[in-house]
């Protein structure tokens, strides 16, 4: 595809649409952070960054870009991990972070309508103050809700409550040619044609630009209690998970963590974790309407853990205790990042029943490939985050070993009927693994969908299913 390189004329048109000069960054004014996301080494500058504030602006920019075949890359907080928000073909970057208004809290329908730039932490706090609950809880709280929808982010409550997709009711979307459409709505049920809303969720900014989202809310559970469960070994901890799943009691989260990662987090936060004496931990969270109800819920699970070799079951039942644990859990990614020179990540997901096999495989891999790998994750939903650390390796050693480790991990995930990404997406960095794992016929359908939405291929090119 031959794209038009942005010139002064285009800039003039953009200025006419946006009107406020401070919302346009051009050339030297473009900060380095706009050239990459939080992790992947995909680096490319846009020609211009436009901080949009309304659907109309997005629509007009898209119409102009479409007519002139200028590539456009949408971006929220830039906290992605796979390069989805990097402007590979340069052109225009649409920064939606100023579109951060809460538009409507509909208490009759238990929905909230927001602009895409609202941050996850702002949304969570806003609804919690009104005794309501937005369950998706990815670790990165400063991500935008638009970004969460674009990757179908999962997070730490997926075991009980599901993922972002399950909470998106309706979307206002600007199509690549500038048309504004609505997918879904406030309705609870919907059998009206193809599930366009669901096609948008997880499309990583390749099909359209989300300008409004209507999200489903739940009543806020009155009380939550976590159990921090020390085990003598990682194997013992992770092998307990299938028993917990089978027990039919439903924690909101089942996370596993190793001592080393906890120590990294203590160092990063400058704050001690309530316990770091054991090699491995499971962290379970239960919610409900009263302490008694939750205690009854977890008694059975606690017994199972003890039978499987847990050293103890530690109870976190107050806000202070919850904060000391979950704040550290939320900082794991940053803490690991701080413990090395550079790293790359794997976000595989396997069927829940196979999670122990996958974790043990990754744990054993560092010996086989001779590279440091740290992992933690959502044991209860089968989604694992493994971080391959560069440390003092030379570029060449790093490339070779990292590639070898990745190939093995994705290979094992395939063997266990797993998928390439559980919640971070494919973006730019994971395309080759998607191609390897997906049926070519399915990839062709994906490309057909992309063509139907974006026949000129101007919106976020080279991402997901495109080479």
């Amino acid at each position: 595809m031959n794209y038009k390189r942005l010139d002064q004329n285009d800039l003039k048109t953009i200025r006419a649409i946006i009107k406020e000069e401070e919302r346009i960054l051009y050339g030297e004014e473009i900060n380095e952070e706009y050239s990459h996301d939080e992790l992947s080494d995909t680096v490319s500058y846009p020609d211009v960054v436009v901080k949009v504030i309304s659907t109309e602006e997005v629509s007009e920019i898209m119409r102009y870009a479409y007519e002139n075949t200028i590539p456009v890359t949408p971006r929220g907080s830039g906290t992605g991990l796979v390069g989805a928000s990097v402007a590979i073909e340069h052109g225009i970057m649409l920064d939606t972070s100023l579109m951060n208004r809460f538009l409507e809290l509909d208490e009759n329908n238990l929905t909230i309508t927001v602009e895409p730039g609202v941050l996850l932490m702002e949304l969570a706090a806003y609804v919690q103050d009104r005794d309501l609950f937005y369950p998706p809880d990815p670790g990165e709280k400063s991500a935008t809700i638009g970004g969460n929808i674009s990757t179908n982010a999962g997070g730490m409550r997926a075991v009980k409550y599901g993922v972002t997709r399950d909470y998106v009711r309706g979307l206002e979307v600007v199509l690549p040619d500038g048309k504004v459409v609505e997918f879904g709505g406030k309705v609870v049920k919907n059998s009206t044609g193809y599930a366009m809303k669901d096609l948008m969720v997880g499309s990583e900014g390749t099909l359209g630009i989300i300008t409004k989202a209507t999200l489903k809310l739940l009543p806020l559970p009155k009380k939550a209690i976590s159990l921090l469960i020390p085990f003598p070994t990682l194997e013992k901890a992770i092998r307990t998970v299938p028993f917990i799943i089978k027990s039919k009691s439903i924690p909101t989260a089942i996370e596993f963590m190793q001592r080393e990662v906890i120590l990294d987090a203590e160092k990063y936060l400058g704050k001690k974790f309530p316990d770091s004496s054991a090699d491995a931990y499971l962290l379970l969270k239960f919610d409900g309407n009263s302490t008694e109800e939750i205690e009854k819920d977890y008694a059975n699970v606690a017994q199972i853990c003890l039978e499987q070799g847990a050293i103890d079951i530690l109870i976190s039942d107050t806000n202070e205790r919850e904060e000391s644990i979950w704040k550290a859990r939320g900082a794991f990614l940053e803490a690991i990042k701080g413990s090395t020179t550079y790293m790359d990540e794997v976000d595989v997901v396997v069927p829940r029943g196979s999670v122990n096999e996958m974790v043990e495989y990754i744990h054993g891999l560092y010996k086989e490939v001779d590279i440091r790998i740290k992992s933690f994750g959502h044991a209860g939903d089968g989604n694992l985050h493994a971080y391959i650390l560069k440390d003092d390796l030379s570029e060449e050693e790093w490339e070779n070993k990292m590639k070898a480790a990745m190939d093995k991990i994705y290979g094992k995930a395939r063997e266990l009927s797993g998928q390439v990404s559980g919640e971070h997406g494919i973006g730019y960095a994971k395309k080759s693994y998607l191609m390897e794992s997906m049926d070519p016929a399915t990839v062709e359908i994906m490309r057909g969908i992309k063509r139907a939405f974006d026949p000129k291929n101007i919106l976020n090119p080279h991402k997901v299913c495109q080479m």
């Binding site: 921090l228 309530p274 103890d312 079951i313 530690l314 109870i315 039942d317 107050t318 806000n319 202070e320």
Partner: protein, 262 residues
């Protein structure tokens, strides 16, 4: 080492509301928990016991349901529990409370070391600990942020006095009111909770005390008269200025001078 830890049950909320008409704290429907500062006192006791051996007793004063915090202390590793409870103790101010606790302590045993949290999150006076020491006639230190050395007849501690750290050596028996973060409190253990679920909690009533004069306890023994309780005023005053950096800097400086901050 025989250690006593004084603990208290408080409402589990950061936003305790005050009834604007009666001036009384609205406690209905609010779950309760152990005063967060007391967790640090318990942890300090457990760490000292791990080094020197001995036994730890947790003591609280309150209605029957206050036994809940003693059970929690058991689940953290505390050995014995004492509940000072009598209707006649109700409505006590800091003076009557500290007197009642000191009487209860005398009755419950002899201790080398008494630990308290620096303050509670409901009353916030930070006075009960030191007053208990006064009634018992033993030395006390507050704001203890670090235990530096444990000796045979004394200990060396650091106190965080906001602008400086004070180091002191104190002889047993003594009372220490510990600051938060002296140690990170361990979480209660489910296993210990099960093991101690039938452990006896000793209840001490007015009839058990050395001084049984009712006038010295509860509302009768409290010289403090509460006129009114009200939530503090919230100052949300903000000013927004627009303009050039250099101009705003000057304006900011004169504003700070006007407010006597600079």
């Amino acid at each position: 080492m025989n250690i006593l830890v004084c603990i208290k049950q408080v409402p589990d909320s950061n936003k305790v509301e005050v009834d604007p008409v009666t001036g009384v704290l609205k406690r209905n429907g609010v779950e309760s928990k152990m005063n967060p500062y007391d967790l640090y006192a318990i942890e300090t006791a457990l760490r000292i016991k791990e080094k020197l051996g001995g036994s730890i007793t947790a003591l609280t004063m309150g209605p029957n349901q206050a036994a809940g915090v003693i059970r929690e202390a058991f689940a953290m590793g505390v050995d014995h529990g004492v509940l000072i409870s009598d209707r006649k103790f109700g409505g006590a101010d800091v003076l009557a409370t500290s007197y009642t606790i000191s009487q209860g302590i005398k009755k419950s045993g002899t201790y080398d070391l008494i630990l308290c949290g620096k303050q509670t999150t409901d009353g916030d006076t930070a006075q009960v600990g030191p007053e208990v020491a006064e009634w018992l006639g033993i030395p006390s230190l507050s704001n203890v942020s670090k235990v530096t050395e444990l000796k045979a007849g004394s200990m060396v501690v650091e106190m965080d006095m906001t602008h400086e750290i004070e180091i002191a050596e104190i002889e047993y028996p003594c009372l220490l009111a510990v600051d938060k973060d002296i140690f990170i409190p361990r979480l209660p253990s489910f296993v210990k909770k099960q093991e101690t679920k039938d452990r006896e909690i000793r209840v001490i009533t007015l009839a058990d005390l050395e001084d049984r004069e009712e006038k010295h306890y509860g509302l009768n023994g409290s010289p403090t008269q509460v006129q009114r309780i009200f939530p503090p005023e919230v100052n949300n005053h903000r000013e927004v200025w627009n303009g050039e950096g250099s101009e705003l800097t000057g304006r900011l400086l004169s504003k700070l001078k006007e407010l006597k901050f600079a």
